[in-house]
């Protein structure tokens, strides 16, 4: 092993070589699929299949709506879990973990049972004229269920990272609890919340299992990729795959890099 630790780092301590070698290999494994996509794409005959553009609109539009709903409903829940302690709280935590850990396919089946035309909720809203399967609301609902637990877990951790003392000080400085939340808790939790939003965005946009069962139509990018793969073949999915990366990645990459750069103060 001595040969592997003979490199001196800038701080004068011996720097092990073996983690760097294994790390480089792991990075290569991670980069491999993306590099192969670049080589496999037929750039000279790059074209979209019919319906691809529509699926991009469906994915972007409905994911955005789902994201807004997730933030609006998930943030108060995350705050409540981070700041209140009460008997039986562990059951609520277990429930959120259960939603997080349920495989998408199973969640799709559960949602169809509840919101499908013969389900207890589905039956009621069908009477009111709203379809909760194979419709725009169903699509948003599928994305909402797929991404919400990830956001709640991340946002809760972000709120827990805000020192209680700073919130208390804000109170002693004459601010109401509501003002304290907006002036102290939110700004201090913002990086963790941003990570939660980025995670929820990627989960919602990439949701396939739940969408496949609850809302095969309207087709968003994941389902359209699947359909193209079935109907035309592997080479036909590459253009839409590129677009998928282009629309899905900027938000989380920017938020992720920003939080890495700034550190947590």
């Amino acid at each position: 092993m001595s040969a592997l630790v003979d490199v001196q780092a800038a701080d004068g301590l011996p720097r092990a070589r073996s983690p760097a070698l294994v790390g480089a290999l792991t990075l290569l494994l991670i980069a491999g699929p993306f590099i192969s996509l670049a080589f496999a794409t037929h750039w000279s005959t790059f074209h979209f299949a019919p319906g691809d553009m529509g699926s991009i609109g469906v994915s972007l539009g409905y994911s955005l709506i789902a994201l807004v709903l997730i933030i609006a409903l998930g943030t108060p829940l995350a705050w409540w879990l981070a700041r209140q302690s009460f008997p039986g709280k562990w059951m609520l935590e277990a429930l959120i973990l259960l939603a997080l850990l349920t495989p998408p396919l199973a969640m799709g089946i559960l949602l169809t049972t509840l919101y499908g035309p013969y389900g207890p909720v589905g039956g009621l809203v069908t009477d009111a004229g709203v379809e909760l399967t194979n419709s725009a609301p169903a699509f948003v609902l599928a994305q909402f269920y797929g991404a919400l637990p990830y956001y709640v877990v991340a946002a809760r951790a972000a709120f827990e990272g805000v020192p209680r003392e700073l919130e208390h000080i804000a109170l002693t400085l004459g601010k109401s609890p509501w003002q304290t939340f907006w002036l102290v808790s939110m700004p201090l939790a913002r990086l963790g919340l941003a990570a939660g939003i980025a995670l929820a965005w990627v989960r919602a946009l990439g949701e396939f299992g739940i969408v496949l069962i609850l809302a095969y139509y309207p087709q968003g990018i994941p389902v359209k990729l699947w359909v193209n793969l079935q109907d035309i073949g592997l080479s036909a999915v590459y253009p839409l795959l590129w677009v998928f990366f282009l629309v899905a990645m900027p938000l989380p990459l920017i938020l992720g890099l920003a939080s890495r750069r700034q550190g947590l103060f």
Binding site: E165, I169, L171, T172, G174, K175
Partner: protein, 345 residues
Amino acid sequence: MRIDYSVDYPVRLQASFEVEGFTVLLGQSGEGKTTLLRAIAGLLPAQGEPFGGLLPQHRAVGYLPQGYALFPHLRAWENVAFALPRGPQRRAQALELLARVRLVDVADHYPTALSGGQQQRVALARALARKPQLLLLDEPSSALDAATRDEVMAELISEMHEFGLPALAVSHDPHLAALADRVAVMSGRRIVQHGSPDEVLSRPGSAAVARLLGHRNLFAARVAGHETDAGITLLQWEAANGITLRLPQQSELAAGQLVQWMIAPTAVRLPSLKPDLHRSDNPVTGRVESRLNLGVHFQVALRCGTERLWLAAPSNLVRHHGLETGCEVTVDLRSDGLLCWPHLG
């Protein structure tokens, strides 16, 4: 301002005392000093006056917790402006407050770029912006360097005097008590003594208070009896070869009773340069065990039987007597400097 509070949870405590100028509440860790401050600030359930029953945001207190709790996402001036109403004058008002604590030049710095003393003064300016009637400081000297602590604290105290606000600082640091206008001592989760620093430091009300104040010459003895005519009480200091000590009469002590007594190191006198000007009250002979040179005076530890007695004396006197380690000397314990309490437990 009179403070009268009782708390049941997380610790049960009761405190009732007067805050005048810069008041220090001394107590060991675990006495619930922080709990008391948080109770006065309204941050935990408690009964008492002032501010009883008000929500924390409606209490006119400036609370400076340990570590100061500046908002890390706000610059120094924004921290100060936090409590100020929104408006065009906000920054100007914040800068004015920063000027009062002499920190205008770091107004645009974030808290992480400030020293401990600077953070403390920003926290003070922020608390003042709220126009408090009472300042609460939790261990204000604990996060400061030993080298600059007294200076920073003296400056902080003089600033608070300028603002004319009563301030209550809780601490376990007897140094801070010496700088205060008034001292209260907490022991057993209640106030056991209060008064001016001179009174409290020179005449602690119990052995526990003496220990808290950092007094070193604290010993056990037994009451040998009273000489009522001469108005003295006799103690037998068994640990130091059973020598007898004489102190002003304390009739409440019964003969044979176990007591604790103390004497300030400055009341342990070396023989005078001009001999026999006055007679010795309590001659005690000991062997010099160690010497600490503190510049103009020395602290000398004398071994007396199984105990160690400290004396503080001017350097010239110590040199005159040639007090080297190992040599024997007879000192005088001044009767009026001896304090004595019944032994508890």
